[in-house]
């Protein structure tokens, strides 16, 4: 998994609570991404980062925020979790803008 660690691996939370997922990489990759994976929708981009403190929205960014204060860490926050955010979340990294991405093992989030 190219030195990508996602935490937690599993989480169950209640509607309306804040949740933060963490992605940590040891590859010194510049680019980092958060995707969610749902049956029938495949993988969809939530947010991405192209450097420390440089982030932008992806296809399904509503209800999510991100932060990247250092190269190795990319945090995904659900300010007030909803049941529609129940999903598997994957972090990915890339060394350059036009090369393959490496994925972490995922975080399974259930919002009850």
């Amino acid at each position: 998994d190219a030195g990508i660690t996602q935490s937690p691996r599993h989480k169950v939370t209640e509607t309306g609570t804040p949740v933060t997922l963490r992605c940590h990489q040891t590859e010194n990759h510049r680019y980092m991404y958060w995707y969610r994976q749902d049956p029938g929708h495949g993988l969809r981009l939530i947010h991405y980062s192209y450097g420390v403190k440089d982030t932008d929205k992806g296809e399904v960014s509503d209800g999510y925020s991100v932060s990247r204060s250092k190269t190795e860490d990319f945090l995904l926050t659900l300010e007030s979790a909803t049941s529609s955010q129940t999903s598997v979340y994957f972090c990915a990294t890339g060394a350059s803008a036009n090369e393959k991405l490496f994925f972490g093992s995922g975080t399974q989030l259930s919002v009850l």
Binding site: I4, Y31, Y33, Q37, P39, G42, G58, G94, F103, G106
Partner: protein, 114 residues
């Protein structure tokens, strides 16, 4: 791990046969294409990639074909093995300085019969 894609298209092949997985992509301007393999409970794993200036690229037991005229991508796996059983995703992108934002297809489940 959670089952992803409960209603995925499924390709069932006999061990030792060749497999061909097809993908239609959406953006004619995309210049980079990639295939990933995903096993249950794991993240997508890179298999092979190809750029738009190529029609074919070969790896170890895998070949990717790109037909830009009809926006079609295929993955060929030679001598399919039980360990090849997984969900396979194609992805496309038009990279810029902000990163490589991959757009994924829905996936195909490959089942290898011993």
């Amino acid at each position: 791990g959670e089952s992803v894609g409960l209603h995925l298209p499924t390709l069932s092949v006999q061990e030792g046969d060749n497999s061909i997985i097809n993908c239609a992509y959406s953006n004619s301007a995309s210049d980079y294409f990639i295939w990933y393999k995903q096993e249950s409970g794991k993240g997508p794993q890179f298999i092979i990639d190809i750029r738009s200036n190529m029609d074919k690229r070969q790896g170890q037991r895998v070949t990717v074909l790109l037909n830009k005229t009809v926006k079609h991508l295929s993955l060929q796996i030679a001598a399919t093995q039980p360990g090849d059983s997984a969900v396979y995703f194609c992805a496309e992108s038009l990279a810029n300085n902000a990163g490589n934002m991959l757009t994924f297809g829905g996936g195909t489940r490959l089942m290898v019969k011993p």
